[in-house]
Every structure is written in C-alpha cells, then in structure tokens.
C-alpha cells in the first residue's frame, strides 16, 4: 500500500463527488424555471440512491470475481471484505475501501447524466426505480466488462476513465429514453429557453474542476501518469471550448457563453477514454475536433426528431464515441494506437463502441418499458404545464 497514492485518490474521489452537484447546476440552468428543482433533484438524489446501491450490490457486481467475462460475483456484497488494507483491492497500492469509494462516485454521476434527456417530463417515482435498475443492469456490467476483468478489458479496449462506461453508456441510454418517453409538451411550438445560464456556466466550471479527479485519479496513483491525464484533460476541455464557439460563430453568427460551456464539457467527455494514453498536443487536437463534432452532434436531434432536452446524446454519446475511436488512433502513452503503428487498436475500439451502444440501448429499452408499464414514467400534459417542481415535489425554486 502506498500512502501518497491513498491520499491522492481519496481527494480525487471527493472531486468526482462534486461533479454531480455541478451537473445538477449545469442541467438546472438549462430548463425552464418551473422545472429547476426537479431537474436538479434528478442529479442530486443520485448521490443518495446510487451510493447506497453501490455499497450493497453495485460494487461487487462490477469488481467481484469475474464470471465468464460478463459480471462480477457476490464476494463483496454489502462491502464484505472491503477493508482498510489492500487485501482483495483491484489496486494493490490502495486500501480496498479507497478504490471502492472512488469507483462509487462514477456510479453516482452516470445515471445522473442520462436525466438531461428526459428533463422536464419524467415522474420522480418512476425515475428512481428506473435509475436503480439501470445501475444494476447496465452500469455494473459495463463497469465489469471494461475495468473489472470482463471481456472488453480482456480484448484490449482502451478506456482510461470511462468513455464507454460513463459517457457512451449514458448517451445510449439517453437516446433510448428520449425516444421512448416522447417529446415535451409544446415541443416545436413553445420556446424552451434556458432560465438561468449563469447557473449552467457555474455548473460547467464545477464539472471541469471535478473532472481532474475523474481522469487524473483514474491513474489510481499519484504519479506521472496522473499528471499526464490531468494535463490532457485540461487541454482538451480548453481546446473544445474554443472550437465549439468558432463553429457556432461560423455557423450561427455569434459565439455564446452556453457554447463555451458546452464545448468545454464536450472536450472533457472526449478526452475521458484517452486521458492517460495520449500526449498533451494530441489532446489539444482531440479537443479541437471534439468541439466541432459535438456541435454537429446536438444538431442530430433536430434532424431525427427526438427530444433530447439537454443534449446528452449530442455531447456524451457522440463525444464519448468520438473519444473512444480517437483513443485507438492517438494512443502513444502506455498503449499503441494507429499513429504508433497499431491499426488493430482502432478495430478493438470500434468493437467496444458498437457493443456498448448496442448493449446499453437494448437494456435501457427493456428497463424503461418495464418501469413505464408498472409505475409510469411520463408526466401528464397538465403536470408538465404546472411544472415538475410543483407537480412532483410540491415546491418551487424561486419565490417572487
């Protein structure tokens, strides 16, 4: 066990924890004022629900002994055998508990990311059940496949900090949910204008800050690799913020603050799988491309007619996919991608992309249909008119 690594990863876990309230603000500012609390709640309460589920069952399904490359065994259920020493810890330099709680924060934010797709129209009770099932049936298997000794990791797929596990999975789920739940009432005729962009910008800044824990911490040690991931993360976010506003300047006429914030998040998403595998200069190139690619990504919903309210598909789905493929091309640090002469890596990344989208979309479809049929997920038109804050939570975000 290494005490310096332990100190670093515990702090990183706290940084990643802070991303979820950051996301709550990022999303909260983008909705109309009558839905601000319901939207914030769908992120914030994941700190409650996912943390408990993770300790009880999620962690062991992800990191218990490998069963056929598909899922983890029940050895660590109820945190059995997850102690203060490194016995059984997937990272030998860390106490098992440290590794567990760091991973816990990833499990918290991933279902919260999806909530942007069905914002302003999902009932809270159904949402909680959907999210709980999603953690167990989608997140835990994905996490096991990539990091827990499952088939994707065995195949050699590169995912440094969660491009597939966190971003592609939530992006695929978001697409499925947006299609199944249907458009918000008034979509196409009502102006869905963000009610508080300063809140959104602050949320994006908190995400950026927390992302250092997410990516640098994924080195699982306080070493040079962590430094590389920290630097590439920052450079990709910076470059994507720039390229997004240039893209919209050219395309739409003005550079917007929402564009700068969205671009930064797009860059952070795209660098996530690549952070520890590429150099800073390639991170800038990746970020510049990610800003433009995700700007295109948010246009998809208009072309195909689904109401992905807060652009989870466009930013996390498209950005995560782009990042995963780019990792296969640009990897030169501790792994070899196309530019290092290993074309096979691109194929491996492609397989992981297809499998992630296919599995997450299909499983989300099943969970959504099951919860919708039993509990119900879509709020009625009247409830949407009143606003989800009053109709689902009996409170309002702002008093006159």
């Amino acid at each position: 066990m290494n005490v310096a690594d332990n100190a670093f990863i515990l702090i990183c876990a706290a940084l990643v924890m802070f991303m979820t309230p950051g996301l709550a603000l990022f999303y909260g500012g983008l909705v109309r004022s009558k839905n601000v609390l319901a939207t914030i709640m769908q992120s914030f309460i994941m700190l409650g629900l996912m943390s408990v589920l993770w300790a009880v069952i999620g962690y062991t399904l992800s990191f218990g002994h490998d069963i056929g490359g598909i899922i983890g065994g029940l050895d660590f259920a109820f945190l059995n055998g997850v102690g203060m020493d490194n016995v059984g810890s997937p990272a030998e330099n860390l106490p098992h508990m440290t590794f567990m709680i760091f991973q816990c924060m990833f499990a918290v934010i991933t279902p919260a990311l999806i909530s942007g797709a069905f914002a302003e129209r999902m009932k809270f009770g159904g949402f909680m059940v959907f999210s709980a099932l999603w953690l167990i049936l989608v997140y835990a298997p994905m996490c096991h496949w990539v990091w827990g000794g499952g088939w994707m990791g065995q195949m050699g797929a590169l995912d440094f900090a969660g491009g597939a596990v966190v971003h592609m999975s939530s992006g695929a789920a978001a697409l499925c949910c947006a299609i199944l739940i249907g458009k918000r009432k008034g979509h196409g005729s009502t102006a869905f204008i963000p009610h508080n962009l300063p809140m959104t910008i602050l949320g994006a800044a908190i995400l950026w800050f927390g992302w250092f824990g997410f990516n640098a911490g994924s080195a699982l040690a306080a070493d040079g690799l962590a430094a590389n991931a920290f630097v590439t993360t920052h450079m990709a976010a910076a470059a994507a913020a720039l390229s997004w506003i240039v893209a919209e300047w050219v395309h739409g006429g003005k550079a917007t603050t929402l564009g700068a914030a969205s671009g930064a998040v797009a860059g952070l998403v795209a660098i996530t799988p690549a952070a520890g595998f590429i150099t800073p200069m390639w991170a800038i190139v990746l970020g510049l491309a990610a800003g433009v690619v995700c700007y295109g990504g948010i246009m998809l919903k208009n072309r195909f007619g689904y109401d992905d309210a807060l652009d989870v598909v466009g930013i996390h789905g498209v950005g995560g996919t782009f990042g995963a493929l780019a990792t296969g091309v640009l990897a030169t640090v501790g792994a070899e991608g196309l530019i290092a002469g290993n074309a096979h890596q691109v194929w491996v990344q492609f397989v992981s992309v297809v499998a992630t989208w296919g599995f997450c979309f299909a499983m989300t479809f099943v969970i959504f249909k099951a919860v919708d049929a039993t509990i119900g997920l879509r709020a009625t038109d009247e409830e949407q008119d009143r606003g989800m804050d009053v109709s689902e939570h009996s409170e309002t975000g702002y008093q006159m």
């Binding site: 102006a191 869905f192 204008i193 963000p194 919209e248 395309h251 739409g252 006429g253 003005k254 917007t256 929402l258 564009g259 969205s262 700007y295 948010i298 246009m299 208009n302 652009d311």
Partner: protein, 112 residues
C-alpha cells in the same frame, strides 16, 4: 388629478426620473414590464436552436399629479425619454377620480 403612465427604454429610467423630479413630481411607482409594438422582438440562439423573442423589456413609470402640473410633466418625460429611434415608448394620460393618503386619510390634491 391625472395619472401619467410612461413606457420607456430600460436605460432611460434614470434620465426620466430626474426630469420628472425636476418638473415637480414628488413620488412615482416603477415596474419592469415586457411588451411589443412597432419595435418588434429579437432572435435568441441556444445550442443552435433559434427562438424569436417577441416581448421586449421596458420600464413603466406611474405618476399621479395635480391637473395643472400634467402638461409640463408629460413634456419633461417625453424630452428625457426621447432618442428618435423606433421603440422610445409611449405616455398615457388619464383622469384620476380620487387619491387617498393611507397614513393621514387626506384626499384629493392634498394626498398627491
């Protein structure tokens, strides 16, 4: 007594307030309002989605004055709020039947 309602540009509030005080107005009520007229609205863009916003933010100032003061108050407000561009606003003048000062119970011109 006359009630004078002035709809003006938001950035003209201070100028109009000063001009009204100079013309002998002793109190006023101000509200932020939205509306549209010939000026029309503007376009807003969020992540590439374009929205036409029809209602333009304006300031509405209400004052009530004695009949004899109304002419000069209106003229002072008009001069202060004037830019010459479409969207300068409007002034409405209407008769007021009664005014009551709540603290003392005075009525009419004494209460203004």
């Amino acid at each position: 007594m006359k009630k004078i309602e002035i709809i003006t540009r938001t950035f003209k509030l201070d100028d109009v307030k000063t001009a009204l005080a100079g013309a002998g107005v002793k109190g006023m009520t101000v509200a932020e309002v939205k509306g549209f007229g010939r000026q029309g609205g503007h376009k807003e863009v969020y992540r590439g989605a374009e929205y036409q916003v029809d209602f333009v933010p304006k300031i509405k100032i209400d004052v009530v004055v004695e009949d004899g003061l109304a002419g000069q108050v209106v003229e002072a407000a008009r001069k202060a709020a004037h830019t010459g561009q479409v969207g300068d606003g409007k002034i409405f003048v209407s008769p007021v039947e009664e005014v009551v000062r709540i603290r003392t119970g005075e009525t009419g011109d004494d209460a203004v």
